[in-house]
Symmetry: none
Subunit: 213 residues, 4 copies
C-alpha cells in the first residue's frame, strides 16, 4: 500500500497522492476505522503533511467523496449519448457507470458503502449525488414511457445497478464486463423478467394482478 515517492514533490501532486491513498484506505476500512497514520503511510508521507494540506480527517474524507463523486458523475455524463432515444441514453449511461465502477472500485466502494453509513455531514453529500442520479434516471424513464410511479422505478433501477456493480466487484476471476452488466440490467429493466424468456403469458400470473389481490 505504501508508496515509492520522491521527496520535494509539488503540492498539487502530493495532494493527489494523499487523496489516492485516502480513498483506498477509507474504502477498505470505513471512515472510523481508517487511521490518519495508515493513510499517511499509504501516501508515503508523514502525518503532519496530510494535516498541512487537508486540515482534518473530516475534510480529507469530504475531499475524497467530492472527488470520487465528481469522477463518477463525469463518467456517466460523458458516456450518455445525448440526443439518442431515452432507452439508448439509459443504456449508455449504465455502461458508463459499470465501467467506471469496475475501473475505480475504491471510489465506488467509498460512495456506495462507506459514505452512506457515516452520519451527517457526509451522508448528505452522497445522498445529493444519489438523488441527482435517481432524478436523471427518472427523467429518462418518464421520457421513455411516461409511466407514473417513475420515482419508484428509478430507485429500483439505480439500486439494481448498484447491486450488480457490487456483485461484479466481488465476483471471481472472469467478472462480468460492464457491457454484460448493462445488457442484463437493460433487459431486466426494460423488458422485464416475464420477457426475459419463454413465459408466454406473464400478465396472467403477474405482479400487478397479485398486487390487486
Amino acid at each position: 500500500m505504501a508508496a515509492a515517492n520522491s521527496r520535494r514533490v509539488p503540492r498539487a501532486e502530493r495532494e493527489r497522492q494523499m487523496l489516492d491513498a485516502a480513498v483506498a484506505v477509507f474504502a477498505r476500512r470505513g471512515y472510523r476505522a481508517a487511521s490518519m497514520d495508515e493513510i499517511a503511510e499509504a501516501a508515503g508521507v508523514s502525518k503532519p503533511l496530510v494535516y498541512l494540506y487537508l486540515n482534518s480527517k473530516d475534510e480529507l474524507f469530504s475531499a475524497c467523496i467530492r472527488r470520487e463523486a465528481a469522477a463518477l458523475t463525469a463518467a456517466v455524463r460523458d458516456a450518455v449519448e445525448e440526443g439518442a432515444t431515452p432507452e439508448r441514453q439509459l443504456w449508455s449511461g449504465l455502461l458508463g457507470f459499470f465501467e467506471h465502477a469496475a475501473v475505480h472500485p475504491d471510489g465506488w466502494t467509498l460512495l456506495y458503502s462507506q459514505a452512506r453509513t457515516v452520519g451527517e455531514p457526509f451522508a448528505a453529500e452522497v445522498a445529493v449525488l444519489r438523488a441527482e442520479i435517481v432524478a436523471f434516471v427518472a427523467a429518462l424513464i418518464a421520457a421513455a414511457c411516461g409511466s407514473r410511479d417513475v420515482e419508484a422505478y428509478a430507485h429500483a433501477l439505480v439500486g439494481a445497478a448498484e447491486s450488480l456493480a457490487g456483485w461484479a466487484a466481488a465476483a471471481p476471476a472472469p467478472a462480468p464486463t460492464g457491457k454484460e452488466l448493462a445488457a442484463s440490467l437493460m433487459t431486466f429493466a426494460w423488458s422485464g423478467l416475464s420477457r426475459a424468456l419463454p413465459a408466454p403469458d406473464p400478465e396472467a400470473a403477474g405482479g400487478s394482478s397479485a398486487a390487486e389481490g
Copy 2:
C-alpha cells in the same frame, strides 16, 4: 432509548434488552462509532454486565447481526406462499421483506448499511445472508422463466428491493406501504419498463437489441 429497568432481571430478558439497545445504537452510529458505554446506558445496565453476557464488542455486534438476519429471513420465509406459482411466491416474499424492513428499520439498517462496511468477520456473515436470499430469488426466477443469466437478474432484483426499502425508510410522511413497494417492484421486474406503460412496441427499441450493438 434508555431505560429505567428493574434490577434482578432474568438473563434471557436482559440479553434481549441489550441486543435491542445494541441494534439501535449500532444502526444509528455504525460499528466503530458506537461505544459500549452508550449501548450499556441505552440498555439501562452497567457495562460490566454487557461484557458478562456478551463478552466483547465483536461478539455483541455479531449477535445483533445474527438475530436480525434470522428475523429477516424468517419474515421472508413465513411470507412466501409455498406451492404457489413462482411469481406469486416472489410477490409474497417481497411483500414480507418490505413489511419487515418497515417495521424493523434498525435491524434493516444494521444489515444493509452497517454490517457490509465493517471489514471482515461481519461482512462475511452478511454476505452469506445476502447470498442465500439471492439464491432463493434466483431459483424462483429460474423456475418462472428458465432464463439464463439468472444470477444477474437475481442480484438486480435484490438490489432493487433494497434500494426501494431504503427509499421508503427515508421518505417523508406518507411513506409507501410494503404493498405499494412490492407492487412497483413486481411490475418493474416482471413486465419491464417498456410495459410499464403505453409504449406500444417495447421490443423494437429494447435493451437487448442495444446490448447487441
Copy 3:
C-alpha cells in the same frame, strides 16, 4: 510530587487528590505547559481516570480555580472581624489573606499568576473574584474615610497586597510572616509613606497598633 495511593479509592476522595495534584502542576507550569500526563502521574492515577472524573483539561483547570478561589475568599471572609472598625476589618482581612497565601502557595499562584494569563473562559472567572475583593476593599475604604477615588485606592491596595504576597512567597528562608506583611501594608496604606518615618513614633499609629490587637 507523585502520590502514595491505594487502589479503589472512593470517588470524592480521588477527585480531591486529582485537584490537589492539578493545582500544584498548573501553578508550577501554567495552563498550557501543564500536561494531563503529569497531572495524572502527580495524582497517582491513570489519565483516563482524570478524564472520567473531570472531563477535560479546561474543566479541570476551571475546577481548580473555583476551588482555590472559594478557599481564598472563605479564608478572608472568616478572618474579617465583623462589626469592628473599617480599619480593623481591613487589617484582619489582610492578615487572613496573607496567611492563606502563605499556607496555600500553589492556590495563590494559580489565581494570581496563572489564571489571569490564560485567555477567556478562565480569566473571566478570576477577574470576577478579583473584582469582588476590590469591591470589598473599596467599601471598607469608603466606610473609613469616605474618599472619592475609592476605586483607584482599592486597586492599589489589592495590588500592593498581591505583590507583598508574591514577594514573601519567593523570599529566602525567614520569610516575612503574615502578620508582618499585614502590618507593613497597613502602615503603608493607612498612614502613608510620608508618615512612615518622619513620624517619630510609628508604633503609635497604623498597622502595628492594629497588629498588636
Copy 4:
C-alpha cells in the same frame, strides 16, 4: 497585525518587524499558546526566516522580553527628574511608568502577565527587571524617609502601580490617564488612606500638588 511587506528588507528592519509581531502575539496568547506560525504570519515573513534571524522560540521570547524591559526602564529613567526631591522623583518615575504602559500595552502585558508565568529561563529575567525597579523605588523611599522596612514598602508600591496599570488597561472608554493614576498612587502611598479624606486639604499634599509642580 499581519503585514504585506516588501521583499529584501535589511536585516535590522526585519528583526524589528519580527519582534513587533512576536510581542503582540506573545502578549495576546502567552508563551506556550503562541505559535511560530502565527508570529511569522503576523510579521509578514516565512517561518524559516524567523528561525534564521532569531534561532528559536525561546530566544525570540527572550529577545522580546529584553527589548520591552529595556524600553520600560528607559522610559522610567528618562522620566525621573534627577536632582529633585525623592518625592518628586517618585512622582515623575510613576508618571513615566504609567504613560509607557499605556502607550505600549503589549510590552507591558508581556512583562507583567506573561513572562512571570513561564517558568525558568524567562521568569528569572523578568524577576531581575522587577528587582531593579523595586531597588530603585526602595532607594527613593529610603532617601525620603529613611524608613526601615523599606523593602516591603517598595514591593507594595510597585505592586500597587502594576495593579493600577492593569486596571487602567482594562478600564472602559475614558481610561484614567497616566497623570491621574500617578496622582492617585502618590496620594495613596505618600499620605496614606487615613489622610486621603479626613484631611481637610488633600490638595496641599501628595500627588496632585506634585503634579502641578
